[in-house]
Every structure is written in C-alpha cells, then in structure tokens.
C-alpha cells in the first residue's frame, strides 16, 4: 500500500486527551475526510502525523516508515486552518519556498510557481506582498505552496472554516482539481462540515473522542451510522427510546435501546383523524421539516405537502428500511431482511 498508512498510531500530548490508536490507509490520489465534533482530536491527529507533536505507532508514507523522522523528512505537508504565510516573502516567494529548499533553481522554481498560481487562479497576484491578501487568497497561496512541496501526503486542517460561503465553494472546486487526480497526494481532510466531507471525501471517517469510529463511503456513513454516538453527531433527526418508538411505530424492534430515523424516512398525510399534530414548521436550506407531536413524543418529518400548516393533524408512515436500530452497547443492529450498505 502506498500513500499514507497509519498502524496503531497514537499521540499523547501532555494536558490533552489521548488520540488513537488509529489504523488507516489513504491511497495516492484519494481524499479521506475526517469528521468529528470539536475537541475530538482531529487537529492533534494531523499534527501527530506531520511530526509536529509526539506520536507513537507506525506512520508510513509511500511505504516508507517515517514515524521517527523530523517533520521536514516525512514528505508530509500539513496545511493550517488559518494559512501561515511567510511575511517577508511575496506570493511567488511563498510558493517557491519549498522548491528553493530542495535546491531547485530560481528559474525552474519561478516557472513551476507560475503554473501553480495559475491553477489556484492567483497568477495576477504573483508579485504582491502577502500582507494585503484576503483570507481566501491567503488560503489559495498556502495551497499552492503546499503543492509546490510535491507532498506524498497532504494533511488539510479545516481549510474552509475561515472563509465565507462563496469563497468556500470556489476553493472546494480548486482543491478538487488539485487533489483528485491520479498521482495526486494521499490526502486527509479534517472538517466539521458535512457538505465538504461528502463532496471532497472518497471516504469519510468519523473521529469521536480520539478514536476512528467509522470509515466508509460518505453515503454509507450518512445512511448507516455505526453507533448511536455517530448518529447523534450526524444529527439524525429522530432518536427515540423504546417507549417513544412504541408510540410512533406501534412496535419496538427486537433488542433496540434506541431507534433512529432520518426526517425523510417519516411520511405524512393530512388526515383529521391522524395521530400526529403539526406543532411548527422549520425552514431548511433545501427542505422544510415539520416538528410533530405524537402523543408526547416529538417527531421530525420532511415536508412534502406545501399546504401543511401548524395545527394540522397528520397520519404517519415510517419507512422501516431506513430505520436505524441501536442496541444497549450503542452499536447498530442489523435487521434480518434489511439490505445493509
């Protein structure tokens, strides 16, 4: 396996929670997105892999063990959440920096810098001081500089978090074009944005309390979170106790400690005799959700009928295929006959 391979990797930073042990493979040209609540150790993990904080266990970059090496000898580039540009160099000087370190001639470095700036759409700023750049421009300079190091492994720490939405999507497109190509670096992308993770990640990992709890295709993780903790983090709309599930579903799946259902798994039909009462409508970016009461149980359902209004009574139908059943241990239980992901 080339790219990045972690085997039982841990970081133990004094005064911070222990991260790991984590084992993970990222192929060249692949992006693994890591999602997790703040404080889950995402940044510490990346810094550990980069050698900026002490780590134990194995880190292999392109098949070579680099765990014991200093940061500069790992072939791993770590990109900070807020870009750390060199204030004494202009845009070109910043991008050329890693090439000049490797003894690449000024002319060759300048040529390659021009290409990279072209790719991040900053060619017109080549001779500008970095002091006057906007946040989005700074992030793109940092990205071009990282690519100039020809990294085997690229670690991106929330690269979009400081940007406003229009710049985010622009930078996301730029990143896609740079990373997702054969021969591209193996990339670990830390984010707390589900959309970024789903769009850029070939695979999606969930990091909670310093451990990798699930790793799968983004769609699979979103549809079938492995534990109730992940379901809660991913904000699966409905999470019912067995008692609540009995009220809503009329039965409790065997062994269930928690029954979860996404909002779109709950269908509503207006009916004067329905069990659900629409309490209020919650507008969303793509879809409006309705908060219902079934007896005393709160239920979130996706609204399909635009005439629905608070005070309406509705009958409910829950799509059993989409129910997520979690046992006492918090692990998801597979239901017989249900096609897994």
């Amino acid at each position: 396996m080339t790219g990045l391979t972690l085997t039982d990797f841990r970081t133990e930073l004094p005064g911070a929670p222990v991260i790991g042990p984590i084992s993970l493979d990222v192929a060249p040209g692949e992006v693994v997105a890591l999602l997790g609540p703040s404080g889950a150790g995402k940044t510490t993990l990346l810094r550990g892999i980069a050698g900026l904080v002490p780590g134990q266990g194995s880190v292999r970059a392109q098949g070579v063990e680099v765990g014991g090496r200093p940061p500069e000898a790992r072939g791993i580039v770590y990109l900070h959440q807020t870009p750390r540009l060199f204030p004494h160099l202009d845009v070109t000087g910043n991008v050329a920096f890693p090439m000049r370190l490797r003894g690449i001639s000024r002319a060759a470095a300048r040529h390659r810098t021009g290409e990279l700036l072209e790719r991040v759409h900053l060619a017109q700023l080549a001779d500008r001081s970095v002091a006057g750049l906007s946040g989005g421009e700074r992030q793109r300079v940092a990205l071009a500089r990282a690519m100039a190091a020809d990294p085997r492994v690229l670690l991106l720490d929330e690269p979009f978090s400081a940007l406003d939405p229009s710049l985010r999507s622009e930078l996301r497109t730029t990143l896609e074009s740079l990373l997702l190509e054969p021969g591209g670096p193996a990339t670990l992308l830390v984010t707390h944005d589900f959309g970024d993770a789903a769009l850029l990640g070939n695979r999606l990992g969930i990091l909670i309390d310093g451990r990798l709890r699930q790793l799968d295709r983004p769609q699979a993780v979103f549809e079938s979170p492995a534990t109730i903790g992940i379901a809660a983090f991913l904000e699966v709309a409905n999470r019912w106790t067995p008692g609540e599930a009995a009220v809503v579903l009329g039965e409790v799946p065997a062994g269930a400690a928690t029954v979860a259902a996404p909002a779109h798994a709950v269908r509503m039909a207006r009916s004067a005799a329905g069990a659900g009462l629409v309490e209020r409508l919650i507008p969303g970016r793509e879809r409006t959700a309705a908060l219902l009461r079934v007896g005393t149980v709160a239920v979130l359902a996706a609204v399909e009928d635009e005439r629905l209004a608070p005070g309406d009574r509705v009958s409910l139908q829950v799509d059993r295929e989409r129910l997520l059943i979690f046992g006492e241990s918090g692990e998801r239980l597979e239901i017989a006959g249900r096609t897994g992901s």
């Binding site: 980069a50 050698g51 900026l52 200093p70 940061p71 500069e72 790992r74 791993i76 580039v77 770590y78 900070h80 750390r84 060199f86 204030p87 004494h88 920096f97 890693p98 000049r100 370190l101 490797r102 500089r145 990282a146 190091a149």
Partner: protein
C-alpha cells in the same frame, strides 16, 4: 479638548525639546555668554577643535566603542532570552518577564553599588570590562523585554509550517526567522547602543574615574564650570538620538506609517 489647547500642548512639547537644544548649540559655540544677554558676545569653535585630540575625543571613542559592544552583545543575549520567555507558559512566563524587568526597574545607581563589590572581588574594579558588564545588565534586561514582545507577535506556527514544507531547523533559522528578525535585530542593537551611550551612574561607580565616556564627561565639565565643553559634549551626546529618530521617521515613511 479644544483645538487651541491641542495646539498649545504640541507647541509646549516641541519647545521643551527644541529650546534646550538651541541653548546647547549657543553654549557650545558661544564666547562670553552672560546673564541677561540673549546671545553670546562672540563665537568660537574652540571646544570643537579639542575633538581632534585629547580628553573629549577619548571620551567620544570610549562611548562609541562601549555602545557598539553593548548593543551587539546585549542583542545576542536578549534574543534567545526573549524568545524563551515568549514561548514559556503561564507562571513561568510571568516569572521570566519579571526577571528581565528587574535590571530595567532597579535604579542604575543601586545596581552599580551592588555590582561594584562583586567586580572589585573579581579584580575588575575600575576597568573597561567592569563597565562593560555593568552596561550589559540593564541593556540585556531591556532588550529581553523588547524581544519578548517581538516573539509574542511572531506566530510559532510559522516555524511549524516551514518544517512540514521541508525546512530543517537550520533552514528555518536561515530562510524564515533571520529575514523576519533582521529589522528587530537592527533596532535592538541601536537601542542597546543608546542604553550604554546615556549611562552615567554605572560608568562613574564601576569605572572608578578611570573610564571616561561622553556622558560622564558632561557631568565632569558641568561640575568644573566648563560650560562650553559641557555643551559640546552634550550636543554630541544628543546626535545618536536625533539620528535614530530620523531613521525611524524615514522607515515609517516607507511603510506609509507616519508617526504623529
């Protein structure tokens, strides 16, 4: 604050700097200047000719030599000290900053009195080395605080960034820290020079009258009533400060940040 009052304040401030300088110039070139005459009766450059040799020239060279050494050595000591304090955490940082502040806060004469005993015991009483050590103490403390401020503004993650881009520790120093710190280092050398340049009590006590600098000569000339020489030495003493101000003004113009 009314506009008139503001004008008054600025004028008062300006005059308080300019008037003594004008008086110094008149006294340095004036011959027979007695109260209540506004100007001297005649002019002379006699005290300036003394600069071609003798006491005044010796003192000038002594001051320049001490100032340059103190500026350079104090900067070399203070840079790593200030960086260590800036990178320390919590109570340790407060302790470090307090330790650096102590030699700045203690009156030089008190420092001199204590230091003299130690230097005499080391056989350095009344020597140039003794005076140098004395000047280095407040200068290093002052510059440590200066570099503490510089390094607190300098994000340590810049170094981390350079490391993961492939720079070794040495390359980080040579290609990142050195160019960023070039200007603060130049300023620190100038500040250290000025601390030594203006120092009187430490030089007098530790030098035991053997080491004569421009600053101590002003004291000596004033005490012996040689006003023209006192004024001449005083003018020479003011030159570096005026130069420093002019340079600061020029670099401020370059960056577009004009003071005032």
């Amino acid at each position: 604050m009314t506009a008139t009052f503001r004008v008054f304040l600025v004028a008062a401030l300006g005059l308080s700097v300019v008037l003594p300088l004008v008086a110094l110039i008149l006294a340095a070139f004036g011959l027979r200047w007695f109260f209540p005459a506004l100007l001297p009766e005649a002019w002379t450059t006699e005290s300036w000719q003394a600069l071609s040799g003798g006491r005044l020239l010796g003192a000038l060279l002594e001051s320049i030599g001490l100032g340059v050494i103190v500026g350079v050595v104090a900067t070399l000591l203070a840079l790593p000290t200030g960086r260590t304090i800036a990178r320390a955490q919590g109570a340790l940082q407060h302790l470090g900053a307090a330790a650096a502040f102590l030699p700045v806060a203690v009156p030089p004469i008190a420092l001199a009195a204590g230091l003299q005993l130690a230097l005499l015991r080391a056989g350095l009483g009344g020597t140039r080395s003794g005076v140098l050590i004395g000047h280095l103490i407040p200068a290093t403390g002052y510059l440590s605080l200066y570099f503490f401020g510089i390094f607190r503004l300098l994000d340590p993650e810049i170094e981390a960034s350079a490391r993961t881009l492939g720079a070794s520790r040495w390359q980080v120093i040579r290609r990142v820290l050195a160019p960023i710190l070039a200007r603060p280092v130049r300023e620190a050398i100038a500040l250290g020079f000025l601390v030594s340049w203006a120092q009187v009590p430490l030089t007098l006590v530790l030098g035991g009258g053997q080491i004569r600098t421009l600053a101590t000569e002003v004291v000596a000339y004033v005490q012996s009533g040689q006003d023209r020489y006192a004024a001449t030495a005083g003018l020479l003493l003011a030159i570096p400060a005026v130069l420093a101000l002019a340079i600061a003004r020029r670099s401020a113009d370059r960056t577009g940040m004009v003071p005032g």
